[in-house]
Subunit: 416 residues, 2 copies
């Protein structure tokens, strides 16, 4: 059960002009499930992506990078679940390239205009013949309003499909931004995410699109962690079709601020949905670290808290065992951190109802802190840990979840 | 249940000349358990220690550092369980100093000749009056053959007491090395361990003793991880009483190699016992990374494998889901790692019965690898993951355990 998240209804996912989606059952690893997704883009569409930094990156990630480097347009994404096609050597690269060639042939475009994505078990070979055999059915299914079905078809251990959509109506044009994502475990993106796809019918100049993809990833998928494991397949791609007629050539374009905000907002919704559906998650935790010397050191601290199995099990137990948070701050890696200057708050709620308690200051428990205040907040499903490092003005936010029996169960059972 | 570990029998823990140990019930946090330990050393004894790098280090760690810096002798260790006296500010420091003063008064020595240690819950204040009130009973209990009882009295979430002992009989003198340790969770020592105490009746010159403490920690407690959480209280101390009459003034002393090896050997046994008794552990995993460019990069990779919740849950499930190991190698942080050159083996057994299987090479699954071979080894309780990075001649070893339901249960329930 995800924490306060439900897949938007199909009608809440606005079609993006120039984009059609189709899904099919290819039998990649299991029968009777839609495990193949094809997303088609109108001629003239552009894409920009950010990908995993894992040195065992998957074959499709390598092929995506090659195809994006040709700087041409983009006509299709092809996504399979079941097998990640990672740590599969030369055979894996061939499989990813053969997949793109088959899509290109079906759609009458170039291989380099197709980006492949895989997710699932690592170290097993992709049954590329079955994948290719499934493509005509996916093509036949293409429709502009199939975002909901595509969000379902890219799921693996996810318990809910993840999607978000926004519409911006300006004076002279209307722009839509819609995206989907998947991921629940092996989540600690490093410059990217598991799989995230956001499309807009605004036309965005290539250099600006690349910057937008990076900025959106940094503000969303690069701020989440479930278990600290950076996947081999993390990929986040933003596609701009230009089919709305709204063209953005530079940052001074009047439409840019609203489109940028919409893309980043959709990416954040999708990233947070991954944490809310984190394997075994029962709580959604926001870790905000402020008053740091640099954003990097704030991220170190936020991730130390977000990764600590002891902190995460305490959240699962609703136990205000807050010394574990201090321990994580202390070992995060800031060598000259002055523990005396650190302050920690626990909070929950929104807006005027935000209920926040000072837990620690001056190197120890805050004089005003009462155990029952901590216990009250720890019972909530959405909790904010706020840390003030007392070193400067930089900040960073990380979203994470708790660590439950079900995390172990899911990951001990996966594959079987 | 620890993995292949049982506390040595009392008679297997050889008394160390010049050392007596006593325990008592002080009621620090719970009733009816021996939670206070006093260890007394003969006049002329010396100590050297290494301590946690956590910036929220506990008050007793600060006081230990101060007292060791005075470069005087050592007459006693005082150890309490139940409350860690960490993140307790000025009040915590006073509590640790008052404890040392009370021990000094009882024993007729200086406060600076007493080292204090605490382990237990963070962020709660030590009931120092109850601790001090328990000291006379601990003193009355002092005896040379109470190592076994002391090993029990320093336990917290440990399920077994941890101790090791060796005797070296030279031509002209006999030296004994005996030690105890505790720890099961919040275990990822950084230059130290939870609590480890090793005493020898060899007399070792101060500079040499300090080097020995560091070398022994680096070869033992600094090679283990249970959950990646570096504690606020990690402390490892080596005490040399000199009461055997065997004096070591320099590394060229004829006794040095044997004594050094015995101290390091005892430290390794104690460190491995902590992993074998890791919270919820059902398997003991040795991660050996070789052919690295530097020992540091090998440690990065070994710890990435040792910390990955996905790798650890796969071991718990006896599932040869080995792609997770490759993923961890890939994200460990070696930016220019060539995945094509990495080799990974899984092994189990000892000596001539060591059964090892090549799992991965050339960026993917080894051609010779069969799933049933991986499954056979994953069923064992002691497993070695061997990684060859193909970059040089450096190496590093890390010992860790798997990640089970019981880890979550223990840490969700702790304190309650």
């Amino acid at each position: 059960m995800p924490v306060n998240y439900a897949t938007p209804a199909p009608e809440a996912l606005f079609p993006v002009a120039g984009v059609r989606l189709g899904t099919a059952e290819a039998g990649i690893r299991k029968k009777d499930r839609r495990d193949l997704t094809l997303i088609e883009f109108a001629p003239g569409s552009r894409a920009a992506g950010v990908f995993t930094q894992n040195r065992f990156c998957a074959a499709p990630v390598t092929v995506c990078r090659e195809h994006l480097a040709t700087d041409g347009g983009i006509r299709a994404l092809v996504i399979n679940t079941g097998i990640a096609n990672a740590a599969t050597g030369e055979q894996g690269l061939r499989a990813a390239r053969d997949t793109c060639a088959a899509v290109a042939k079906l759609m009458g475009c170039e291989s380099r205009e197709v980006l492949p994505f895989s997710t699932g078990v690592i170290l097993e070979h992709l049954p590329v013949e079955r994948l290719i055999a499934g493509l005509p059915a996916a093509q036949a299914d293409l429709a502009a309003d199939h975002w909901h079905a595509a969000a379902h078809a890219i799921m693996t251990t996810d318990t809910v499909a993840k999607a978000a959509s926004r519409r911006i109506a300006g004076a002279d044009c209307q722009v839509t931004v819609t995206g989907i994502s998947k991921g629940a475990g092996m989540i600690r993106p490093n410059m990217a995410t598991m799989l995230g796809f956001v499309a807009t019918d605004a036309g965005i100049a290539p250099a600006l699109l690349q910057k937008l993809a990076k900025d959106a990833a940094d503000a969303s998928f690069n701020c989440i962690t479930v278990d600290g494991d950076t996947s081999t397949n993390d990929s986040f791609v933003v596609i701009s079709t230009g089919a709305s007629g709204c063209m953005i050539d530079s940052e001074s374009s009047s439409h840019w601020p609203a489109v940028r905000e919409a893309v980043i907002g959709v990416a954040q919704e999708l990233a947070q949905a991954i944490v809310r559906d984190g394997e075994g998650a029962t709580k959604f935790i926001t870790v905000k670290v402020g008053a740091g010397g640099t954003a990097d050191e704030c991220r170190l601290v936020a991730y130390a808290i977000g990764h600590s199995p002891l902190v995460k099990t305490a959240f699962f137990a609703s136990d205000p065992n807050l010394g574990r948070i201090l321990a994580a701050i202390g070992y995060a890696g800031i060598g000259d951190l002055d523990a005396e200057r650190v302050k920690v708050w626990l909070g929950s709620g929104v807006g005027n109802d935000f209920d926040e308690v000072l837990v620690s200051e001056s190197g120890g428990r805050a004089a005003s802190y009462r155990e029952e205040d901590g216990a009250r907040i720890m019972k909530e499903a959405e909790i904010t840990v706020r840390v003030d490092l007392g070193r400067g003005a930089a900040g960073a936010t990380v979203w994470t979840c708790d660590f439950s029996y079900d995390y172990v169960k899911i990951n001990a059972d996966y594959r079987s």
